[in-house]
Subunit: 346 residues, 2 copies
């Protein structure tokens, strides 16, 4: 009942500010997988005494859900990949019931592809080690740690406020609906993955399959667009990286990435929480932007408070001003990617 | 590339048979959670040496994704819940790229709600036992078995043919695209759930929240609509159960269920595969239908081959004639649920 009250309220609000309550028209929608390979396993029986069976399962596939508006060919498709302990729910209806980026980008005329990371949500994961330990074939110490971030961790890492349940005065995350965000937080099994992370290869393959795409990553997946480009840049029209540490790269890697327009997005209060992860991340990505520019590339650091947008959290795609930030990104794509279809920019 | 060729081919085919390639118009869409409660855990650190932290996580929530067509108030919303080792992908684009039931029911004017079962996909699961065994706090024997059905198991249980990779001559499942189905098959963690299964309570709560809904279950979740009704029947307008065993029930339980229109759906070749699960399931559900009828209820067994539809598999919502079966179900809803809005039927 609370949800529905929220939806009504928000619907009225959205109607007063723009056209989000108009019917949504789709040319097509659907879902499919990218990648995946067969693996032979011994599958335990279900329930006590049930016999185990041997056979093949498919692992490392990436589930992708898409929506295409009419006349989508006018724009480059956008691929969105979620962060740690989350799924593609990240981009959908916000915890307080407002429109997510997935639908908003479609309403802005772009095909949107939401990918569940390999080993998460509808992409599934490889259960072999868990079952091998259960069967006594491997020691418990070989169990991969399953990361399930607590409410307390989320509050701190997502920068909702200086201490648990105490928001920043200008906090943009809808903290009254934090319980709804906590429901989105699910076990993270990335420690079960081989190296390199199959999601990177799958993102690169998806961009090729789409004959060109903008890749957006966030947090854990923030640098995945660049990692995908280092595997195969041929389908990638732009990389958009939201709030993550940028790793040290070789000059050859920088040269590859400098061929792709790149946008980094960071919110507010980076150094106002009791850990240094975001302040350090910001510095590492400023350095990356400088390196790409020095190599002749088109890279931009979009630091929201420097642009007058105050109080944005790590979950900025769910913040109260999430559509305003989406507009900035759409505009960046239009200027840095799409105007290059007919002429080199500047 | 193969996928896109398939989509083109199918699109042409769909266009020739009906209006599935017309734009889809939605009044609204989104996602939310039903249920969920807090649990205090010790979460392992990420990577060697990282400290563990204590705090709360949310468990037993059910992720729901919905689409609402214009004028949806004319019809009762439909809730679809997938089976074992699968996610809501079950109802979306078929393995060979055709339209799934999710979109088809929307095009038939109904609001559609897809729920990922608790402990699966975007609903997440409770990782506590796995991490406790890893930490040495519990023995490996307490690890829940993770069911990940193999390709070979799927071929047999889903009745694609008499032996692996050999289809029945009249098989309706698109077996050439079986590899795409195998990618949908993900680890099933239902053995981690408390009893009763929280999905049942969440389905009942969702029906109440929607002010009335038709619940559809399949296979593992085939009897979940009835289990939900036994917890709280107040929001449930009809139960549709696709291919599962029907349990023995008490007279009081039958009396409760007899107040809800009930449809059972079974496909073909029930006794033509090397196990007796489906023949037995069919008999148990015929008995259930008879019990409901004897208690004055409206129950029907829709055995597809008896209606002239031959060769349907266990995954009949993905079979080549999936939309024909959807039409039968839509028609059943219209006759057994919706005509009762203004007058008692018969």
């Amino acid at each position: 009942m609370k949800l529905f009250a929220t939806v009504l309220l928000v619907s009225a609000f959205a109607g007063s500010m723009c056209a989000e309550d108009k019917p949504l028209v789709l040319a097509s929608q659907g879902s499919f997988f990218v990648g995946g390979e067969s693996k032979t396993i011994t599958s335990p029986g279900r329930g006590p005494g049930a016999p185990s069976t041997q056979g093949e399962i498919t692992i490392n596939q990436m589930y992708v859900q898409f929506q295409t508006p009419p006349r989508a060919a006018q724009h480059v498709p956008v691929v969105m990949v979620h962060g740690c302990c989350l799924s593609s729910k990240t981009w959908e209806t916000t915890p307080d019931g407002r429109m997510g980026w997935n639908e908003y980008f479609v309403r802005k005329g772009r095909s949107v592809y939401l990918a569940d990371q390999v080993s998460r949500a509808r992409s599934g994961f490889d259960p072999a080690t868990f079952n091998a330990v259960r069967a006594g074939a491997k020691p418990p110490s070989e169990l991969p740690p399953i990361l399930d971030a607590t409410h307390q961790t989320a509050w701190a890492i997502f920068r909702f406020g200086p201490s648990f349940n105490k928001p920043f005065p200008d906090e943009q995350f809808p903290v009254d609906a934090a319980d709804e965000l906590y429901k989105q937080m699910i076990p993270d099994l990335n420690t079960t993955l081989p190296s390199p992370n199959p999601t990177w290869k799958n993102m690169a393959a998806l961009a090729v399959q789409l004959k060109g795409a903008v890749l957006i990553g966030h947090s854990e997946s923030g640098f995945f667009p660049e990692q995908a480009a280092l595997i195969d840049p041929s389908g990638i029209k732009a990389n958009i990286s939201i709030e993550m540490p940028c790793p040290d790269l070789t000059p050859a890697q920088i040269t590859t990435l400098a061929k792709i327009p790149t946008l980094m997005v960071f919110g507010d209060h980076l150094s106002d929480v009791p850990n240094s992860i975001w302040g350090n991340a910001f510095e590492s990505c400023k350095k990356f932007v400088d390196q790409v520019k020095a190599a002749g590339g088109d890279a931009e650091m979009m630091h929201l408070p420097a642009m007058g947008l105050k109080g944005n959290s790590h979950m900025l795609m769910q913040d109260k001003n999430n559509l305003q930030i989406a507009d900035l990104i759409v505009s960046w794509i239009d200027q840095h990617v799409e105007t290059q279809k007919s002429a080199r920019r500047r």
